[in-house]
Each structure stands twice: as C-alpha cells, then as structure tokens.
Symmetry: C2
Subunit: 382 residues, 2 copies
Amino acid sequence: MFESDLKPVTLNQQALNDLAVGCAFLGSGGGGDPHYALLELSILIEKKGPDFHIDLIPASKLSDKDLVAPCGWLGAPTVSLEKLPSGTEALAGLEMLEEIMGREVNAVFPVEIGGSNGLAPLILAVKTGLPVVDCDGMGRAFPESQMVIFNVHGVSASPAVLTDAKGNSFVIGAVDNITEERVARAAAVSLGGICHLFEYVQSGKQVKDHAIHGTLSIAVEIGRSIREAKEKGADPFEALLDVMRSFPHYGAAGILFDGKIMDVKRETKQGFSVGHLLIEDFAGKNQMEIEFQNENLIARVGDKIYATVPDIISVMDRETAHTITTEQIKYGQRVKVVGVSAPSVLRTPEALEIMGPKAFGMSDRYRSIEALNGWKGSNDAQ
Amino acid sequence: MFESDLKPVTLNQQALNDLAVGCAFLGSGGGGDPHYALLELSILIEKKGPDFHIDLIPASKLSDKDLVAPCGWLGAPTVSLEKLPSGTEALAGLEMLEEIMGREVNAVFPVEIGGSNGLAPLILAVKTGLPVVDCDGMGRAFPESQMVIFNVHGVSASPAVLTDAKGNSFVIGAVDNITEERVARAAAVSLGGICHLFEYVQSGKQVKDHAIHGTLSIAVEIGRSIREAKEKGADPFEALLDVMRSFPHYGAAGILFDGKIMDVKRETKQGFSVGHLLIEDFAGKNQMEIEFQNENLIARVGDKIYATVPDIISVMDRETAHTITTEQIKYGQRVKVVGVSAPSVLRTPEALEIMGPKAFGMSDRYRSIEALNGWKGSNDAQ
C-alpha cells in the first residue's frame, strides 16, 4: 500500500523553503525548529551555484540490496536552540557507519519528516552527493526513536551511530529497540543534550516495504500551498486544510482551536522538552490545554479530548500560518491549532502499542481525530 | 621506577582465595565485593582439573607492540549485589574490541586492583587462555574511570567497549577521557547500573611505562599474610600492616580507628553508591565518619582528618580481618579502619588533580596519610 509512484522531485531554494514550512507542520510541534537547518542548507546550495538542486528519488528506484541509512538528531529541541551543530556530526557518523557495515551507504532519508529532522539528510546529501529517498519512518515526528514504523515491522535499530559536535562518537549494538533509544538518549544527555544519529539502517527492500512514502514531497506541497495562498491574499489555513485532505497518507484535517497562548510550562528533562501550554479563545471563555514531550501529544478543552498521538497536532501562528515548534511557544502568541489524521499504519493496534496514548503513559484509549471531531475519515483509513 | 622484576606467578585455588582478600583490601572499600567473582573463578578452575592454574606474567615479558586490554566492571557496587553477570559480557566485549582494533588482544589486566575488579581479567583469561599481566592502573580502586594512571600519562580511554548481561554493546569513541567516563556511566545506568568495560587499550610499551606493577601478586601476599596469621593464632592486622609496610608501592600503614558501625547512609545515585558511615569506639567517646563514593574517600573524627583519597582507607571486620566493601557495610559490624599510603605516582600534582580530594569536590588540600598520622613515610615517596 505504500508503493510510491512518485517521480524524482527536484528541490531548488524555494522548494527548500517550502519544505521547511511543511516539515515544521508535520512535526506536530517537534523535530526542532527547521530555521537553522534551512540556513545551513541554503548556504551550502548557494556555494554550489545557481543551477544546483537536490533530487529526491522515490523508494521504487532503490535496488533491493541497497544500504539505506535513516538519520536525524536526537535530543531536546530546547537544547538545539542554543547548542548549534559543528556541521561535522553527520559526515563523521556516516564514515563510521560505513566502516561498521563494511560497505558504502547508497542513500539516506529522514528518520522523521518533522521539523529540522526532515531537512537533516538533505544537508548530508549536498555534502556527499548521496541521493535522498522521498520517504520517512514516521509520517510526522515522535519524541522517542523506537516510535517509528520500522520498529513496528521488527527492523533492528542497531547498529546505531551517535556523533556530537565535539567529535565524540558511539556505536550502539542494542538487543532491542527500546534499549537502543534508552542508551542513545542517556549518551546524548551526557554529551550536552543533542546528537546526530543513524539508526534503523536497512536494505532498499525494507525501505520499499515499510517506509512512509512521498512525505518529503508532501512537505514541499504543504509549504507551497501556504505560501501561494498568502501570495494570492487567500486564507493559508484553508489552503493547508485542502491540501492535507488531498494526500494519500492523511485526509482528515481541521482547525481545533483559535486563540492566544496564556501559559507555557516547559522543562528540559531526561533528554526531552516536556510541558504543557494553555490557549484561551478570544472570547476568553474556553481554554485548550496541550501536553507535549518534544511533540504535542494531546489537546483537550476541559474534559473533552480533541486529538491525541499519533494524530498530528500543530500549533500555528495565525498570521503567517507557520508552525510554532514546542520549544518556541511563548506567552501571547496568537495561534490556530490544526489537527490532521495520522497515516493509517500508525493507527494499527501494533503501532498504537508503540506510539499511541498508552506509550506515553496516558490512560485514554486512542480515538481517531475524525471520530473525536465528527470529521470525514482519513484517506487511507479504509 | 615501575619496572617490575617479578617472576611469573602461578595462582592455584588457595592463591585465588588470598587474591580476593587482598583485592578487597586494596579496593579502599570499592571495586565490588569479590565474593561472586571468586565463586565464578573457582567453578571455572575446578572444571579444568586439579592441575590447572593461572599464570601472571610481569609486564617486562610483554612485547612493546603487544595489544593489551585493561578491563573491569563499571557501575554501582550496590547494583552488583543483585544484578549478576551473565558470564558472556567480557567475551563479547573482547570480540568486539578485536574487531575494532583489527587485531588480536595479546594480554589483559585489571584496570583497578580493587575488589572484584581485581579478579575480572582472570575469569576472562581462564575462558580464553589469554595471559594476565601482573599490574593494574590504580594500585587501588577509584569510582570514576578517568581516575587511572594511564589518564595521568595521556593514554586515551577510547575506543572503549561496554557490554551488558543481555547482550547489549556500546563502543565509545570519546575525544577526552572525562567524556568517556561520563558517557560510559550514563550508558551503564541506562542499562541497569553495571556493565563490563574495556578501556585504555594500550601497547605493551605503555603497560611497561605507566602501569602500577606487581599489584596482583601484592594482593595475593596480602591475603596470604592475613590467612597465615589467623592459622597461627597471630594478629592478622599486625601481619597485614607488616606486609603493607614491606611493599615498594605502599609502605606507611596503620590502624586509624577501632569500633562499631553506628550509622550508614547509602544511596545508588547516577551510577555510583554514595553515602557515609559512622563508627563509634567501644568507649562510646569518639566517632569516625567516612564518606564514600563506591570507595572510601575521607576519614575524620570531628574536625581532624585521618586520611583522604588517594590514600587507601579500608574498613575491615575486626574478627576475620577481611575488608567490608562499602555496599556491604551494615549497622552493628565491629570493624577496624586500616589506612595505607597510596603509590607515589598517585600523589603527584598531576595525579592529585585527577584523583585527589579536589577531584571529589572536597575543599581540603591533600595531605599524606603519614603526615596526618605522624607515621613513617611511604616506601616510594622519596
């Protein structure tokens, strides 16, 4: 059901700007603000000259035996605001990974499409010439690395390679994927809170069978819809909802709340940015509370739940229609909360065990965002 | 100054029993109770038949280009009381280390002579046939892995290989030795609190130049002196002090306190067993307080300090003259506290930076145990 028929997609600077906007949206508040990654990518591309562009290849172009490396950053997004990368982390990790595997890596892709992590493999691709596969492992972002579709399908996270800005490197050989997350998180915390990670290294066949396909080009489309609506003076939220309803993996989408940030409680704890935020509507009557662990996990008004993981909850600036990631939320911001149905592969009983409300210690059973809000069903739910 | 002229030493079961007693003593309360390691070793040797024995080789027998791997366990000794090893940790780590180094390891030795860690490489040696070098890296035990003579001499702790009882493995490539400790500790905590570790892997030349030589056979002598004194009905403490005064690395030795354990505060925190204990003399007049972090760090009565790291502070059962490691200290035990001067290489300004009182956050400047107690100087202090 995931076999993508997408053609290779060419990304120029404008497409990359759009991609950053789309990744922030799909991140459900997490994955880190893509601002810095976009700057780094833009500088790299500018140096390559005006005709340079990045090609995304569909997974169908991979050979079954290709070695494909998902990558991204692990840690608390709050840390990434102050602790900038050195730019050497991913390359050092790639070299080490190739040494361990005894062969070259053939392609990379984002382990999660959310936030700056959606852009991470593109930076590596510009530096190395490696192709980027148009897919990811989550169809959004999740805070813990075992919350990935490859784990649902029994792919091993190990060997994983963790590298940091100072040149430290760690190879993790964990017997299970929860242990991989736990050790990687502990190591990242001990190194200052954020590290680059290769994990769930897999064959081309596994990428074709299990990845969530087309999500990089979907993110570009999201950014473009918002930008074009604003250029035309149209409502960017209407454009966003329309385009989200058109994508195969998503479908159900709507505005959950409209108001002003009244309170934020956020702490950086055990390698995560955790807390909750309160949004009050402009009538001053109702408040939506959103709990987050890097990503927004649950949105409720009083006792009524509007959305929970794995469905996407994105808090967006109501003027620019750009997502505000959880580490950037501040008192006084005027926002709209947009909810979108998660890809159906994240909603199976097996997937919900790993990335549903229970996996976050919530007692609430998962109910789909469309059921909670009386919306039309998601596109791939049937 | 460390060049050993010791002959190869042959260890039979009785010598191993003596070694365990000596290692517990030199551990300064740390390194873990050697009871379990001795059991494991005894079973392995029994299976090999009555004529089997372990040979210790002096470092002078190493070739300069040999690859030599110090090893031991990292974690809180309190954890090791309940979480037993699987027996596969060291072998799995050795295999991984050889793969990383691209060559075979030629010999092993204990990274610290203290407690069960003094016996750890012997277990590996029986399983693999590898020779054990008669030396260690501390001349005692220390809680943190950068507190080792090789770090004073600029040897890199990396690549280090951490393995656990479940089959997890972790290869650490740290840019400095403090980071190696920090990440290894964080990983060990995340894996349940105790792991096997190869670190400071070095050449035969480095072992000859930097290791603290002869400490395994010294530990055997310590155990034998105590045992033989008891067999003869003599005072084992007198025998212990006599033998400690005779060794080149040590020299100053005495009984610091005699009394009953009145209070123990101990918690397992951040991968260490930390706390303090109070011993009251039998007249009920004075109390000695000892602070510990895995190892005993400082002993004082009121304001008067009797000993601090790196000098050795060993709390011993006053009947058996066996050391009680910090995780085994209990209310009511009747004990003598024995102090011994540390090897002079641990007392240089460079070494004290790494393993002196300041390294443990104490404001007290280091003063030698012989100066604090008005004893004759240590043997290698001149």
